[in-house]
């Protein structure tokens, strides 16, 4: 077998086929054996390339398109969906006062912004509300960290994972609202993300009250 012929056989060789004449050429030809070694190196390096994370905004805009096109049935409430993560009977335990205050605050956040609203600028009612919610959430989280003692390691791990995801979403939405304070969709998602975190902390306190 000549190099050109071996080259045509290389695909089979790489898949493990070893015809005797090809093996003979492979043993004798430094050029072809080096080439195969390189190709194997490339294939194995490719297998280590990481998967890449799409930005969180991708699902947000896809979801909006799906809604626009009427492809989605009505969603269940956030409370219902979050209850799946932390299944617990209806709220027999009282959430903390902070969480109650948060829920009230969220009710009053305007869904449509005043012109020129900024997350960091002061003054407008909705800016004030977002800032208040942010502060309230921070203290509710601190309270939860201080007071809630979960025993089941799976629940603890799930809580941390969910909290990290909600925090990421909040960060993403905040950036979007900062970039364009008139982006109604971003504002709605930010409110929803705050609501998710509130529900998560609330479910956590219920879980604690019920003995994990």
């Amino acid at each position: 077998m000549q190099c050109q012929e071996f080259d045509r056989y290389a695909t089979q060789w790489m898949e493990g086929e070893r015809a005797p004449e090809a093996a003979e050429h492979f043993q004798a030809c430094a050029r072809c054996s080096t080439k195969i070694a390189d190709l194997e190196l490339i294939a194995s390096a490719a297998a280590t390339l990481p998967e890449l994370d799409p930005p969180a905004s991708l699902w947000i805009s896809l979801h909006a398109r799906l809604e626009e096109e009427g492809l989605l049935r009505t969603r269940r409430s956030l409370g219902e969906r979050l209850r799946e993560y932390f299944p617990a009977p209806p709220r027999t335990a009282l959430a903390t006062a902070t969480i109650g205050a948060l829920a009230a605050l969220l009710l009053f956040i305007p869904q449509s912004p005043e012109p020129g609203i900024s997350m960091d600028g002061g003054g407008s009612p909705s800016t004030w509300s977002f800032a208040r919610v942010h502060d309230q959430l921070a203290s509710a989280e601190a309270e939860a960290k201080r007071d809630v003692r979960l025993r089941d390691p799976e629940v603890v791990a799930s809580y941390h994972q969910n909290l990290a995801m909600v925090d990421n979403l909040i960060g993403e939405c905040q950036r979007k609202v900062n970039e364009d304070p008139n982006d109604e969709l971003a504002r709605q998602y930010l409110v929803t993300a705050y609501q998710q975190k509130t529900d998560l902390l609330s479910a956590l306190s219920e879980r604690d009250a019920l003995g994990d």
């Binding site: 695909t11 390189d38 490339i42 390339l49 994370d53």
Partner: protein, 214 residues
């Protein structure tokens, strides 16, 4: 929208999510998106090289998927179906950018020879071992023709088999194998060129240093 995920054992299985999504269940759509979006986005981004465009095309692929999900009968793997949609979306975009294009089932050698890197006849092949890292490989990938790159990404990066790639790309299994071999060979040439350039640059810098000392 994004939301916390249940632990792996509590998540609805893919087949159940498909069934529910066919009935318009929003949670099922999201579940399917979470299951597959990384793989789709990774392939798309490596194909187009531009995050904004990759986001746009990934969204388009999922939109097409969800519009047609009621027609999915389970006769092929769901991920194969989704990747087929993604590949079509990407190749359509690339075709719009670079006309004329070459069919996957046509021999592409002639075009490749003209567009490939030029090498000195008789020049020794530099070894790529030791210089091949993931960053270099990613850079080299960008220089592959789209058809080769897609097969390489699906097989060597994503781990699809040739029969699956044949279904995804609507080509023969033999063609998938041949494209993969050409892709790897071309990548090797590109990496060797990078290595030659690096060696040339090192020699240049060394001679400049020597010259400045004299």
């Amino acid at each position: 929208m994004a939301r916390p995920r249940r632990s792996a054992e509590g998540e609805i299985p893919e087949a159940e999510a498909i069934r529910r999504a066919q009935g318009g269940d929003p949670d099922a759509f999201e579940r399917l998106y979470r299951l597959h979006s990384r793989r789709v986005y990774s392939v798309v981004l490596r194909m187009v090289g531009n995050p904004a465009e990759a986001e746009d095309l990934t969204q388009e692929a999922f939109l097409q998927l969800f519009r047609k999900i009621h027609t999915f009968r389970g006769d092929a793997a769901f991920s194969t179906w989704l990747h087929r949609l993604s590949v079509n979306v990407v190749l359509m975009r690339l075709r719009k950018k670079t006309l004329p294009q070459t069919s996957l089932d046509e021999p592409a050698d002639a075009e490749d020879e003209s567009s490939g890197p030029k090498r000195d006849v008789g020049a020794e092949d530099p070894l790529i071992e030791g210089s091949l890292d993931r960053v270099r490989l990613e850079r080299a990938l960008v220089e592959l023709p789209p058809g080769y790159r897609m097969v390489f990404l699906l097989h060597d990066v994503q781990g699809y088999e040739h029969n699956e790639i044949a279904r995804i790309m609507d080509c023969s299994i033999g063609n998938s194998k041949s494209q993969l071999h050409k892709a790897r060979t071309r990548l090797r040439e590109i990496l060797q060129d990078i290595e030659r350039d690096r060696a040339r640059q090192q020699r240049l810098e060394a001679s400049e240093k020597t010259g400045s000392r004299e």
